[in-house]
């Protein structure tokens, strides 16, 4: 059984973001990181492997050459190798274009389970997992907060607003996970050193058989017209309570009445 984890390189939320000339995010302005939600997917994949239910866990990343730093970070969790699709043509891809590239790369591989984050912290569309499954014509079990790999099938507890659904599907399947699924480990020193030597296969778009018109800004089905900074929120009134709660409670109740919220 082989698990593939799509991983994305994203700007650090804590860092300043810049918009580049071509209306994409300037990822060079800040130190990018491995998308946090993908770490839970990697951790879960490693647990499946450690339980003896998977032979191999491989990372898959669509991203520029610099994304290799992120890929090595993913590998430091103990993964067996990685595949990168790196091509200038990928720049400006929207969710379906990204899913097409990932699907094309997956078609070249043997795999049983795709295990990924439910959202990327920059695009945050939550669309890629289901779109990827659609392109691959497999089920998608999304927002998993528990995963169980059985004989040829996978079962998850899928988070809903008030609880969960337990959903089961045959493999191959795509599963996306939420934070509640596990507590990721810290990569060990040994893992970090080993990551440098793990096999990394780099392919371009031709290598995965995707035409240039299918990806990037050209293949995107949506267009960004402009991006503008939002005027920063300003601090409003500040009230210090008298220690009994009365002053603070009065201030908030008055405010809610003024705002017609009460």
């Amino acid at each position: 059984m082989r698990i593939i984890c799509p991983v994305k390189r994203v700007p650090d939320t804590a860092a300043e973001k810049r918009i580049a000339e071509d209306r994409t995010v300037d990822r060079d302005g800040s130190e990018p990181v491995l998308n946090a939600n993908d770490e839970w997917a990697i951790e879960e994949a490693m647990r499946v492997k450690e339980a003896g239910k998977a032979d191999e866990v491989i990372a898959l990343c669509m991203g520029p050459e610099q994304a290799q730093q992120t890929i090595r970070k993913a590998l430091s969790y103990g993964l067996d190798g990685a595949i990168q699709v790196s091509d200038e043509g990928c720049a400006g891809s929207d969710a379906p274009a990204t899913a097409r590239v990932l699907a094309a790369a997956l078609r070249e591989e043997d795999w049983d389970l795709v295990l990924m984050g439910n959202q990327s912290s920059d695009a945050r569309t939550m669309l890629v997992p289901a779109m990827l499954a659609e392109y691959l014509d497999v089920p998608a079990l999304t927002y998993a907060k528990r995963l169980e790999v059985g004989d040829g099938e996978v079962t998850v507890d899928r988070e809903t607003p008030s609880g969960h659904q337990t959903v089961t599907a045959p493999m191959p399947s795509v599963v996306s996970v939420v934070e509640a699924i596990n507590e990721p480990r810290y990569p060990s020193f040994k893992g970090i050193m080993a990551a440098k030597k793990k096999p990394l296969t780099v392919k371009d778009l031709a290598g995965v058989g995707v035409g240039a018109d299918q990806v990037g800004a050209q293949g995107a089905w949506t267009q960004v017209l402009d991006i503008s900074p939002k005027p920063p929120r300003e601090a409003g009134e500040q009230v210090t309570d008298d220690g009994s709660g009365a002053v603070g409670a009065q201030a908030i109740a008055d405010f809610l009445v003024r705002q017609k919220l009460l």
Binding site: T13, N37, P139, V178, A180, W221, R233, A235
Partner: protein, 323 residues
Amino acid sequence: MNILVLADHDRGTPKKIAHQLLTAARGLADGEVHALLMGADAGAHAEQLGAYGAATAHVWDDSDAEDYATEPQTAALVAAVQASGAQVVLYPGDPLLSDVVARAAVRLEAGVVTDVTDVERDGDALVATKPIFGGDMLSRCQVEPGRPQMLGVKANAFAEEEVGGSPADVVPLEVTVDDAARRARVVEVVEEQSSGRPEMTEAPIVVAGGRGLGEAEGFALVEQLADALGGAVGASRAATDAGWYPHQHQIGQTGKTISPQLYLGVGISGAIQHRAGMQTSQTIVAVNKDPEAPIFSIADLGVVGDLKQVVPALVEEVEKRKG
């Protein structure tokens, strides 16, 4: 231009967001506004959507919608787009429905814009405004001309407004669900908490609690305040990580994004990853004992004080003023 609204409902009772989306659709469509309702009892009150401008309500009340995840509903959405002749679909940014839209978009080769807070019409194109980078910036986007347009609209972006139209024409939707669509089977549905509170991503008021509550029991205070205000309950990651409140209530970068009319945070410092999920709220009120807490820099009203005193006093004050 016809517009189809994916009308979310609770056992047949349309949710607020369905009314909001229909109101938005009415302002944009020069053709007809249609609604799609899927799942158990979907048709129970479908005709009422006429009051919000829906000419036709397509109803698909089939156990396939409940027994299997996503794919049967995808087939229904595709069928409804075809039946309504809609060039535009407005849907709520609910995670489970987003999956349905994602798959349908691939089938229809439709462009999708998520997190939309405003829409303007420019000829046949809809120009959507959405906050990006946790609300630091605004982006205006559109679907490539000629493609079906699917816009995920944030809750509370549009105020619901009745037009007093005639009842919607309720028509059963013909959907062919093939066996492949039944691959992901729902074996159990577990309601972990049936609180009767509104859903966090939809509620006009959200009261959120953080590490400052000190213990799981501290959320009782948050719940009391939420109930007094008729709001939903949210939490910071520190609180969900500690197991004080279920993860689906987590607000922030790795949790959910909310933009209610009022966010009221207690015992939350306002770390950037938390703000990434709530700073597009219309008004922000915070209670924190630390006058330097970063949440105060974005709060319309900040109260420096002990939440254990302020929250119970506020619950009392709210009850008193409600009369």
